[in-house]
């Protein structure tokens, strides 16, 4: 009885949230459509301005970052195109169009870095973590959890031999699914919190061995569009780590975090 009541409250709350969202979304939808119109007419700069207004309002989605990436590509700004595709990738990781465009954009990147490959289990884990968009993975984990608990409760209440037979099996299936999903979600959240990637935006960057202009020497150079991991930072400099584990310092303004 009580359970049902809570669920009802939950549903009402969801409706309220989305309802409130709809009320505000008019202007964003309008801007989005405007951007699309400009893009179709080949006015990429205007399209970009329209799309960026939505982002400036504090909203995001996979599609908007994808479209912004397209505009930048068309305008010849490969670094920003890749930056926005990477942002979209966080929200819609398995989108086919996004994958295709990111591949094309990366063709124009000069630096070819051979990543040091991880242990195969870690690779598999990665693939597992990033199969679904994050929010979808959340929802899925949560629903499996609710289902699992419901099965548990039903198991406590029923005395029928048939139902108990069914329920025990469902209990194990949903239990294992829940554990796997929780592990992958936790792993993903931890990784996302720990790892901040960035894209090089300057044409060419000389990477220094220390965060000073004079104290260090130039260790290697990178070019526009290369994705790097950020590590430590000082007020004007950040330490970057390449996929092949080269490390160096660059000025903050040459890159932007994804």
């Amino acid at each position: 009885m009580r359970n049902v009541n809570l669920k009802r409250v939950g549903i009402i709350m969801i409706c309220l949230f989305t309802g409130a969202g709809w009320l505000q979304s008019d202007s964003r939808q309008h801007l989005f459509k405007e951007g699309n119109q400009f893009y179709i007419q080949g006015e990429f700069e205007n399209a970009l301005t329209a799309y960026q207004k939505i982002v400036e309002m504090g909203y995001e989605s996979g599609s908007i970052y994808y479209n912004i990436g397209n505009c930048y590509y068309k305008l010849g700004n490969i670094g920003r195109a890749i930056l926005n595709y990477e942002r979209a990738k966080k929200l819609i990781p398995s989108d086919e169009d996004l994958k295709a465009n990111l591949t094309i954009a990366r063709l124009s990147v000069v630096d070819k870095i051979e990543p040091v490959s991880d242990f195969i289990v870690i690779q598999a884990m990665h693939a597992f973590f990033y199969m679904l968009p994050r929010s979808l993975q959340f929802m899925l984990t949560l629903s499996v959890y609710v289902f699992f608990m419901a099965i548990l409760i039903f198991w406590l209440l029923t005395r029928s031999a048939f139902w108990r037979y069914v329920v025990v099996r469902l209990f194990w299936i949903s239990g294992i699914a829940f554990i796997l999903l929780s592990i992958s979600l936790t792993g993903r959240l931890l990784e996302e919190q720990r790892v901040v990637n960035a894209v090089i935006l300057a044409d060419k960057v000389d990477v220094m061995s220390a965060p000073t202009e004079q104290g260090g020497i130039e260790v290697f150079s990178l070019h526009e569009g290369t994705k790097v991991r950020l590590d430590r930072s000082s007020d004007k400099w950040v330490e970057i780590v390449l996929p092949d584990r080269k490390v160096g310092w660059v000025k903050r303004e040459v890159l932007e975090a994804i």
């Binding site: 359970n3 909203y59 989605s61 908007i64 397209n70 000069v110 949560l142 406590l156 060419k204």
Partner: protein, 609 residues
């Protein structure tokens, strides 16, 4: 618009086709000989030409066995890169110089080149080595040569002279062969040239007609002519002996007659030509290794005196516009075997293998000249690009020390060009062919599901609700389960829990009998309800209930005395009404029911304490 797109597409096909054709002809190898009919002791050259994409990457050719009929003198190589209609063709030419030794017909076997795991072979070449006609006697005539008298040392001799006796490795020794004669030498030919293995040999150019001069030695006047001059670059340290050079001269000899008039006929026309074999002296050269002290790490083996220059033809270009980058090494020394300076050009440029040109001055010693490297660079990015300075290290024979030359760094201002077409790049650090014209996919037109940036799902209250609600439900269910279990296992608990319910059931049945006609049944039901209630509450069998026992138990459980009295009075009046009914009005009956209910609730309250 449409047309332009088609043109682009057509361009791709073209580019693709040309590339695939290059791919198909990755490497072709050809071998040739500069002449197929060769005089004995004459030099000939086997030229191996590698052409195609793989020319630079292919291994060095493996030469066939030629020891039986020729001796190896040395080798050289040159490279050539051409752009024709944007297509790059690379060719590498390697020349191998030999001296023909043995007369006869010979075959030069196939030259083998390894590339990408494949083996390329050239066709074998037939050559003929002939006996020398005229002045130069050949090996086969050496038997006759023995018959040729050696000229008297006084009248005719050949001197080999070296300018230095001690040299460093790769420092040239000039060896000059001079003929000293008091006789009339009408012509001469080289019979045997000394072996110069272990040396790189550069022949000086001498005038076709030897320049003669007069010299007086031991009071005798000689006519002197330089007939051969060589620069020898020793390749290995140690004591080296250069064997004598043997020439054969045609000498006019006056008839030595006792005839007192003989002098009268001293006219050359009456002279007789005699062949004379003239050997030179042999020379010894001490070759010392280059000093180890102060030898820089990047020393590559060049010896002599050099200067180094590097420059570009223009310092302001647009992207994808070619510039020429030249490096010139100039000086005295073994130009031909000069090691190539190490050139490091950043990946921001497309680079192609350089074109190398040599020019060597061989008229006056020392051997000098220049070597020029011409690179074609295509900048790929706008901005200020740098070309690193070139460092070249050599051993200076004048100062007897190692010296390092360094060019100035070059800066090139690159502005953005408008061409973004297919770029061919080479080298390991860069990518393969790029199809820049390939277009990205179209934008997303579906209205997007915007959400507040930075929102995290676990921040929403709904999330916590969905997490906690099942837990709460689970705890509830757990409690309920326990309760059910008790009902099953604990009779007293079960009866207790059911007491009111069954009593209420019976009372409602009694209520339906609330009529004067069913007075008896009515009181029976009330009695049963009350008795049942007591039985359930105290967990006693209804049938065997003795009022005293009940009373005692109730007292023990702390039920108030007045409640007990009331209970029993109700039960008694029930029995009375059942067995000796008096006429009771409906309202009396209702009151009675109320009393029974009241007692039950009192009992319930007191028993729970």
């Amino acid at each position: 618009m449409m047309q332009a797109r088609w043109l682009k597409f057509f361009n791709f096909i073209l580019i693709f086709l040309t590339f695939s054709s290059i791919m198909a002809k990755d490497l072709s190898v050809k071998a040739s000989v500069d002449k197929t009919v060769i005089d004995q002791y004459e030099q000939f050259t086997i030229t191996v030409e590698l052409a195609g994409e793989g020319a630079n990457k292919a291994g060095n050719p493996q030469l066939p066995e030629t020891d039986k009929f020729a001796s190896f003198l040395g080798s050289g190589s040159s490279q050539n890169i051409q752009f024709i209609n944007g297509k790059m063709s690379v060719s590498r030419v390697l020349s191998f110089h030999f001296q023909a030794e043995k007369i006869g017909n010979h075959q030069i076997g196939p030259v083998i080149v390894q590339h990408n795991g494949k083996q390329y072979e050239t066709d074998p070449i037939d050559i003929e080595i002939k006996q020398v006609k005229g002045g130069r006697p050949s090996v086969s005539t050496q038997k006759q040569n023995k018959a040729i008298p050696e000229g008297s040392k006084d009248d005719l001799f050949l001197e080999a002279k070296i300018d230095k006796k001690r040299v460093y490795q790769n420092e040239p020794v000039t060896i000059t062969y001079k003929i000293y004669t008091r006789l009339q030498v009408s012509s001469f030919g080289f019979t045997k040239e000394p072996e110069t293995t272990g040396f790189w040999k550069e022949e000086y150019q001498l005038p076709a007609q030897p320049v003669t001069s007069k010299e007086i030695i031991n009071g005798k006047q000689y006519t002197v002519a330089t007939i051969k001059k060589q620069a020898l670059f020793p390749m290995t340290p140690g004591k080296k002996t250069i064997d004598p050079l043997i020439i054969t001269c045609d000498v006019r000899v006056r008839r030595r007659s006792r005839d007192p008039f003989g002098d009268f006929f001293s006219d050359p026309f009456f002279g007789r030509t005699e062949k004379m074999r003239v050997p030179s002296n042999s020379v010894i050269i001490q070759v010392q290794p280059l000093p180890e002290t102060g030898k820089p790490d990047h020393f590559s083996g060049a010896v002599g005196q050099y200067t180094l220059k590097a420059w570009v033809d223009k310092s302001k270009v647009k992207t994808n516009e070619a510039i020429t980058y030249k490096i010139k090494l100039e000086g005295k020394g073994n130009i031909h075997t000069l090691p190539d300076p190490e050139v490091n050009i950043s990946g921001d440029f497309e680079t192609y293998p350089p074109e190398i040109n040599e020019s060597i001055q061989r008229t006056t010693p020392p051997i000098s000249g220049s070597k020029t490297y011409e690179y074609i660079l295509v900048p790929r990015f706008a901005g200020l690009q740098k070309i690193d300075p070139i460092v070249f290290c050599y051993f200076n024979t004048k100062k007897n020390s190692y010296q390092t030359l360094k060019t100035d760094p070059i800066q090139i201002e690159v502005s953005q060009g408008d061409d973004t077409y297919a770029i061919v790049s080479s080298g390991a650090s860069k990518e393969e062919v790029k199809w820049r014209g390939q277009d990205i996919r179209f934008i997303k037109t579906e209205a997007a599901d915007f959400k507040k940036a930075g929102d995290v799902f676990y921040g929403a209250s709904i999330f916590w609700l969905l997490i906690s609600a099942p837990i709460a439900a689970f705890i509830g269910a757990l409690g309920y389960r326990k309760h059910l279990n008790r009902l099953h296992g604990d009779v007293a608990y079960a009866r207790e829990r059911q007491a009111r319910r069954s009593a209420r059931k019976r009372l409602s049945k009694a209520r339906s009998l609330l009529k004067p006609e069913t007075q008896k049944e009515y009181y029976a039901e009330v009695s049963k309800a009350l008795m049942g209630f007591l039985g359930d509450k105290l967990n006693m069998a209804e049938a065997g209930m003795i009022s005293d026992d009940v009373k005692a138990t109730l007292e023990k459980r702390g039920v108030h005395v007045s409640v007990i009295q009331k209970t029993f009075s109700v039960l008694e009046s029930c029995d009375y009404q059942r067995f000796a009914p008096s006429d009771a009005s409906e309202s009396d009956m209702r009151d009675f029911l109320k009393r029974a209910e009241q007692i039950m609730s009192h009992l319930d309250r007191d028993l729970r304490k």
